[in-house]
Amino acid sequence: MFYREAGQFKTSYEADQALFPIRQDKIGLGIILLVAFVVIPLTANDFFLASVMIPFLVFSLAAIGLNVLTGFCGQLSLGTGAFMGVGAYAAYKLTTIFPDVNVIFLVLVSGFFSAAIGAIFGLPSLRIKGLYLAVTTLAAQFFLEWCFIRIGWLYNYNASGAIEIPTREMFGVIISGAEATPLARYFVVLTITVLIAFLIANVLRGRIGRSWMMIRDMDIAAELMGIRPLQTKLMAFAVSSYVCGVAGAMMVFFWLNAAEPSSYSITLSFQILFMVILGGLGSVGGAFMGAAFIWILPIVLRAIPNMLDVDIGAETVEHLAFMVVGALIIFFLIVEPHGFARLWQIAKQKLRVWPFPY
């Protein structure tokens, strides 16, 4: 009833190739952006902004980054955490070297460092494929983590071995450091995430995105059609690491405030990978859905006993949350292996034929 494309004729290829060719989708996106930019800031409390929305957006961005590499280019990576760390440490160093430059600009620049590192660790992908490639990215993960601990210069030789984020402002509003309000940080994170997501979506629907998917779906055929495998893969590594690097920098600058090397450990890599797979490999929208599921669901689960006023220990809740998340991951994979993005498509398809079953 509500989801009918009938009557929406596209008269030009421009219209057909738009990001959201269907009117209802456009309206939906408009509503989401409205909620994100207006409704949430007006209504949400600090906890929701600082502990739900900001991490959610940061993770979404990281998931988009990994999706470029794994979902679109088919190169399995377990080094996301470390690449995010490179972004974080680079941004941190940049703020000490250029204390007067706008921190948002530095965060965006820091991505280039992780892009470069990502490309270096992407080099073996020419020869090594699939799960085997995962080990090279693991090498990156553990090696970089070790560097974060060992190279004192990276954290300005702080006794704590951690990086701590200085207070910086923009237009008179404090946006980083402990004094920044969750609202200010939320706006920064939201803007960067939406912007990068939009730019990446552009790349993905064009020639370059297509060449990544060609490599993913059948690298031999892609090569026989004139795609240079190494160049294309390295580009995917670089772009993916750039996005992850920015996400990593945002993670410490606008969310955690301080980070130890262990903040960028293999656990983080896996967290992002879950989001990508569960959201749907090869879908930008899916990255958001996956991030929401993996980050927000446990928070909700932990809150449930409190709401119901049941008295069980914090750790029992944690154990149950683990079990539920695990079970739900399996459940959703069984329901739809291609993730929430596909589930959403199927739902739309059903809406289209509604009220008939098919």
Binding site: I346, Q349, K350, V353, Y358
Partner: protein, 308 residues
């Protein structure tokens, strides 16, 4: 398997298949609905009754397909690309589950028992095996190992398996030459032979053959169908084959169904189908004056719209 048990007129005997030259006087154009009466009869090995198949919960592919395969018969399933032949075969062999498809309506009876709920390996154990379209050899296994996996369900001892292996090698000498190569590296035709040979290794009562002739050299196509006929004659194996090479298929089959867009639109004795004008025109390519040249095909659309 004796001739007497095949009293039903539809289940033509192999001898009939050989009498290709004799013209058939009547053209049988049964509609699927009339056949339910014989589904339970003893001499049908497989009955598919009005099944509906949906992929991914939303894509309806088969819209009520019914067919029967008589014991010892060779039944051909013809139809254009995407008509649903493969889907029908997979519905029978229960491989749909692996593709997120399901049979939502109708029933499938193999040797008098409903089999929709069984697993594919149960079905193989009961003697019904499928040769999948597109080869699907085990790439990392050698040709010989591939063949031996076909005998996985057999319990009749190494010697019997060994002799069957020999049999397959006699059918396909090319396989003997390449027996130790990894199947993934063999040529397309070699893989096709391997897939067929693998099915033979299970000593089935019934084989579902999906496009056996695809990618095979012409003389091999003839050979494959000769093998089909031999197995059918000597061992009484029944066949349901989906085949694009209508010419050959109808020469060897006893009965044929034509499937379009998920529905059976025409069925009848092979001979009758061969003489049907539409079939001639659209599947056999024989116009009034013999074979048409591929060079002279016309450019406007000439698709048959079946009335069903």
């Amino acid at each position: 398997m004796t001739g007497a048990s095949r009293s039903d007129p539809r289940s033509a005997s192999p001898e009939m298949a050989l009498e290709q030259a004799k013209p058939m006087s009547t053209l049988e154009l049964d509609r699927t609905g009339d056949k339910t009466s014989i589904t339970e009869a003893q001499d049908t090995i497989l009955t598919v009754n009005n099944i509906e198949v949906i992929y991914d919960h939303v894509i309806l592919v088969l819209k009520g397909v019914s067919l029967t395969v008589p014991r010892g018969g060779i039944v051909a399933l013809l139809g254009a690309n995407g008509a649903g032949k493969t889907t029908t075969l997979k519905a029978v062999s229960n491989l749909l589950g692996a593709e997120r498809g399901e049979v939502t309506k109708g029933k499938i009876v193999f040797e008098g028992e409903e089999v929709q709920a069984l697993s594919p390996n149960d079905l193989v154990r009961r003697g019904c095996i499928q040769v999948m379209e597109g080869r699907h050899c085990f790439g990392h296994l050698s040709i010989e190992e591939n063949l031996l996996t076909g005998a996985y369900t057999r319990k009749d001892g190494a010697a019997a398996i060994k002799s069957d292996l020999e049999m397959v090698y006699t059918y396909f000498p090319r396989l003997r030459e390449r027996r130790n190569s990894q199947a993934g590296y063999t040529s397309g035709g070699e893989q096709q032979m391997c897939a067929i040979g693998r099915a033979l290794m299970s000593r089935p009562k019934m084989i579902l053959l999906d496009e056996p002739s695809m990618g095979l050299a012409p003389q091999l196509v003839e050979e494959i169908f000769e093998i089909v006929k031999q197995l059918n004659d000597n061992e009484g194996v029944s066949f349901l084959l989906a085949e694009q090479n209508t010419n050959v298929a109808l020469r060897y089959a006893t009965y044929g169904y034509i499937l379009e867009a998920g529905r059976i639109v025409l069925d009848g004795d092979a001979k009758a189908l061969r003489d049907n004008e539409d079939v001639k025109e659209f599947y056999l390519g024989v116009g009034g004056e013999g074979r048409r040249s591929f060079r002279n095909v016309k450019h406007y659309k000439r698709r048959k719209r079946w009335l069903s």
